[in-house]
């Protein structure tokens, strides 16, 4: 794939890819480099392409240095740090023409590494480390730090910044700090002495990361649950959502243990499966705690029965679906947006659910809070549809802020006093004409008692098999979904609104779409962009769809699920919606979007098909 942002100054605008062996400690070296660049004020992204494996399989880490602050994957590799002999040949092929390849020259690789259009740099890393350190495991770990030193010299990354980061990590372990500092220096000095440093692709200090952090979406969402006042988390471990509960638990250990008594103001329950996890969330929410479960596609499949109960019996609950590649077990460590339809209509019978689509970790934090407010306001399940790319990769985000005046919206929940003033309490009567009934909690008053059931019930909460009584409730639930459209976040609109071409997208496609818009603008093609943040769709979505003649729906799945949902749930003319799809399992880059849009224009030269599959 040619570089569409070509003919540019390579300073602070290039991609390094590290090819490693899983379980060898490379992650810490790679994030050290990423964080050092971030601390030099240069925007950066880090994407981890890891296997479903503990140790031994190939793994890659991609750092994009992006002075313009793009969040998407770049779709090219300028520098390959090839540390895995098993993938050398593949890794070599991936380097862009004019790029660089760095390898461990302790063992000659001349036959494998013959490519005339790239610069191959050999560094005898294993030899350097073996001569200076003892212990097999130690040497494996420190070899990573040594290549970090080489990269620091080649890219002109400030060595003191890296040392500072290592000080923070190993400050309390002087022996580790000493060996790491020495290994870093070893690589750095070797490069300075034997290689031409720096390369033309290099890092120069900027001031574009102030007021920003590097954080992954699962951590941000877990933190959001703490700030939302969630007290019960139930879950079953599943990649890529596990780190969300790990984060919640970690933050609770920090903020939610009473210093005087040691009592926990939270409960985290590792359930026996996802069926139980969602059941626990329903039980806790029904009983007045803010409760949630993080999961991924296979977990949602298992939760379907309970989700229907929650919808019909109107029990609030929050589900984080950190989407991975399906169908079935799929590719658990790759990213996709394949659960849109699954979540929108989860469970049998007529059901429709509220979905939120965060586009980055910052939104994971705020939408986590929003999800609890919506779930309790609307008394229904709310899904936060994140994905592996957002959930597990570090993204540069604006500093998270918290308004101390925030108080949870508990929705229509009657107190003992309010119940006392009522003649009689009925659970499912629409008293306010917004289709949202009032609820009561156990333990408050016998006057508030009602029977929660998934079987047919009338608006008074009693069992029924009477068609009319059943329909009163079912029709109100439909109206409640219309009410929900007024409460959910509105889409984000970019552009003047006067183009004939519109792009519609969700979630982690956002970075690629924004970059594509810039590329197209440089080619004098102007488009309007609407990023949908929630389902049900509101009036803004309808009006964007009606105002644009051609609309590209950009999403990361094979079957155009967002497009399907738009055709089902809005009045849009189906033929206006063209799909641009990426379902390789890797985060989307801007090229298929640029190509897809250009392909429909009369003067467009060579380009891939509209349904352009991701080119790699």
């Amino acid at each position: 794939m040619p570089n569409l942002v070509n003919a540019h100054d390579p300073v602070n605008d290039f991609v390094i890819k590290f090819a490693n062996v899983n379980g060898t400690g490379s992650a810490s070296a790679n994030s050290l480099i990423m964080k050092a660049i971030f601390r030099m004020g240069v925007p950066v992204t880090g994407k981890n392409y890891f296997p479903s494996n503990i140790q031994g399989l190939p793994t890659w880490y991609e750092i994009r240095v992006t002075r313009d602050g793009y969040a998407a994957r770049a779709g090219r590799v300028d520098i390959m740090v090839a540390m895995n002999a098993e993938t050398y040949s593949k890794d070599v092929r991936e380097v862009a023409s004019g790029g660089y390849l760095i390898y461990d020259a302790t063992w000659p690789r001349s036959t494998l590494l013959q490519r005339g259009d790239i610069t191959v740099i050999g560094v005898p890393l294993a030899r350097l480390v073996n001569e200076n350190f003892d212990g097999v495991r130690n040497r494996i770990l420190l070899k990573n730090i040594a290549y970090a030193g080489v990269m620091a010299a080649l890219l002109d990354i400030d060595l003191e910044t890296i040392n500072g980061l290592m000080n923070e990590s190993y400050g309390k372990k002087p022996k580790l700090l000493e060996s790491n500092t020495r290994a870093l220096r070893l690589g750095y000095d070797y490069a300075k002495e034997h290689l031409q440093c720096p390369l033309p692709l290099k890092v120069e200090r900027m001031d574009k990361t102030r007021g920003h952090i590097m954080i992954d979406g699962n951590t941000a969402a877990g933190l959001g649950c703490v700030y939302a006042g969630a007290t019960v988390g139930a879950w079953y471990p599943i990649t890529p959502s596990t780190s969300l509960m790990d984060a919640f638990k970690g933050f609770c250990e920090r903020y939610r243990i009473d210093p005087a008594t040691g009592e926990h103001n939270y409960a985290v329950i590792q359930a026996e499966d996802e069926l139980a996890a969602i059941g626990m969330v329903l039980g806790a929410s029904w009983n007045g705690a803010r409760a949630f479960t993080p999961t991924s596609g296979p977990g949602i499949s298992l939760m379907n029965e309970f989700l229907g109960l929650a919808y019909y019996a109107e029990v609030p609950c929050v589900i984080f679906d950190v989407q991975r590649v399906g169908p079935s077990t799929g590719m658990p460590t790759r990213t996709q947006q394949g659960d849109i339809m699954l979540c929108a209509y989860a469970s049998h019978g007529d059901t429709r659910h509220v979905l939120l689509f965060p586009a980055n970790p910052e939104e994971c934090f705020y939408m986590a809070v929003k999800a609890f407010d919506l779930a309790e306001r609307l008394q229904t399940p709310v899904f936060v549809l994140s994905d592996l790319d957002i959930g597990m990769n570090d993204w540069m985000c604006k500093d998270l802020k918290w308004d101390d005046a925030y108080r949870p919206d508990r929705g229509k929940m009657l107190s003992a006093e309010e119940l006392a003033s009522l003649d009689k309490f009925y659970r499912y009567v629409d008293r306010d004409d917004d289709a949202i009934p009032y609820r009561t909690l156990p333990g408050v008053s016998p006057k508030g008692a009602y029977f929660t059931r998934g079987s047919g019930h009338n608006q008074y909460g009693a069992y029924t098999e009477d068609s009319a009584e059943y329909q009163v409730v079912l029709d109100r639930l439909k109206r409640k979904f219309h009410t929900a459209a007024r409460y959910v976040p509105k889409p984000e609109m970019i552009g003047k609104g006067d183009s004939k071409i519109g792009i519609v997208s969700v979630g982690s496609c956002d970075g690629a779409v924004r970059e594509a818009i810039d590329v197209l603008a440089r080619q004098k093609i102007h488009v309007d962009y609407m990023r949908i943040k929630a389902f049900p769709f509101g009036l803004d979505v309808e009006s964007f769809l009606s105002l644009h003649a051609t609309i590209f729906v950009v999403e990361q799945n094979r079957d155009a699920q967002l497009r399907s949902l738009l055709t089902l749930e809005t009045a849009v003319d189906k033929s206006k919606l063209k799909s641009i799809l990426s379902y390789s399992g890797f985060p989307m880059s801007c090229e298929p979007i640029v190509d897809g849009v250009r392909a429909t224009l009369p003067d467009a030269p060579r380009l891939t098909a509209i349904t352009g599959k991701q080119t790699r």
Partner: protein, 352 residues
């Protein structure tokens, strides 16, 4: 099925409990089960137990799954919240509800289909987690609502109404619970209310998971000759071995027990359950002895009833293990839950 909807007006001469409430005030809606169903007797025992415990209705939470037995939570204590969940999944609802508010009394009513087949996974994990609740299995060996298929508790050789003979070995809830380390395991018979009521009361007051397997014959699909879960067979083979009397806190043990036969066990709230044993050597606090005794009796076709095992060690209960706040989680004010913006600003340093 009884078609007479009884008026809620109570006769002034009806006895009242310490709250001034009559038994009638602990009733629920009219049962829709078959006339003579064992489950209705269990419902009556629950009503009696709650009345006797002076339970405030809102203190009780009723939970169930799906099936005939699970319907019964609507038939007692209408002043309590009820949650009729999905098939076999009541334990997870109970676990979550209990996590949110540890102060209420949770009673789950389930059946042998709901608990031993579709819901076996959730049952065993609720036991393992030692969720503080009473879990009643109304055990009749058949699926009633779907018209008489064998359940997982059906004995080998028992005959279905249409003549089919069961060949798969039964899962016995008592042996199952004992093997999992349940802290309160009992068996009762729907036809023996005098024994069942104190068992229910003790189970409600026990700190941890209390399981009572109640033999509760299905009059419609499993009450014929050849069935090992019929009224006749059960009456002939149930063996009230370990009687239990429930004694509320601050009340003297008034009954005179013969020397060596009474074993009082103190429950966490100061109440006691006094066990009366037939065999003087039987020790219900000895789990493995209880297991072999029950297993041996089952081989002889004898259903030993009564409080079979009790371990009143409160430190094993879910909240004790989780170190959960003594104030129920659903009542902790938000101000105590949010770390606030100052803490957030400080935390962000970690991500720079």
């Amino acid at each position: 099925m009884s078609f007479i909807n009884k008026p809620k007006v109570a006769h002034p001469s009806l006895p009242t409990n310490a709250l001034g409430m009559t038994r009638r005030q602990y009733e629920g809606s009219m049962s829709t089960l078959c006339a003579g169903c064992g489950h209705d007797s269990v419902t009556a025992a629950i009503i009696e137990a709650c009345w006797g415990l002076d339970m405030r209705p809102e203190q009780l939470v009723k939970l169930s799954g799906i099936g005939c037995s699970s319907k019964t939570t609507a038939y007692f204590v209408s002043g309590s919240h009820g949650f009729n969940s999905v098939h076999g999944r009541m334990p997870s609802i109970a676990s979550g509800a209990n996590a949110a508010n540890r102060e209420l009394t949770y009673v789950g009513v389930s059946g042998d289909g709901d608990s031993l087949s579709i819901g076996l996974g959730q049952l065993v994990h609720a036991i393992r987690r030692n969720v503080n609740m009473l879990y009643l299995i109304e055990n009749n060996g058949v699926y009633g609502l779907t018209k008489g298929q064998f359940s997982a508790s059906a004995d080998i050789g028992t005959m279905a109404k249409k003549g089919e003979v069961n060949q798969s070995p039964p899962i016995d809830p008592v042996l199952l619970a004992l093997s999992l380390g349940a802290t309160f395991v009992a068996r009762g018979f729907s036809g023996d209310k005098a024994q069942l009521v104190p068992l229910i009361q003790a189970g409600m007051r026990h700190s941890g998971f209390a399981l009572i397997d109640v033999l509760s014959p299905c009059v419609t699909f499993n009450d014929h000759e050849g069935s090992t879960k019929s009224y006749t067979f059960t009456r002939e083979h149930y063996h009230p071995a370990i009687e239990a009397d429930y004694v509320p806190p601050a009340q003297e043990i008034s009954v005179d027990y013969p020397q060596g036969e009474a074993l009082p066990v103190e429950l966490h709230d100061g109440s006691r359950v006094v066990l009366r044993k037939l065999g003087a050597s039987y020790d219900p606090t000895d789990r493995s002895a209880a297991y072999s005794f029950i297993e041996q009796k089952l081989k002889q076709n004898e259903y030993v009833t009564g409080l079979i095992h009790i371990d009143e060690d409160v430190s094993h209960e879910f909240h004790a293990l989780s170190k959960t706040s003594s104030v129920p989680l659903n009542r902790i004010p938000y101000e105590k839950l949010s770390p606030g913006n100052a803490a957030l600003e400080k935390l962000l340093g970690r991500y720079r």
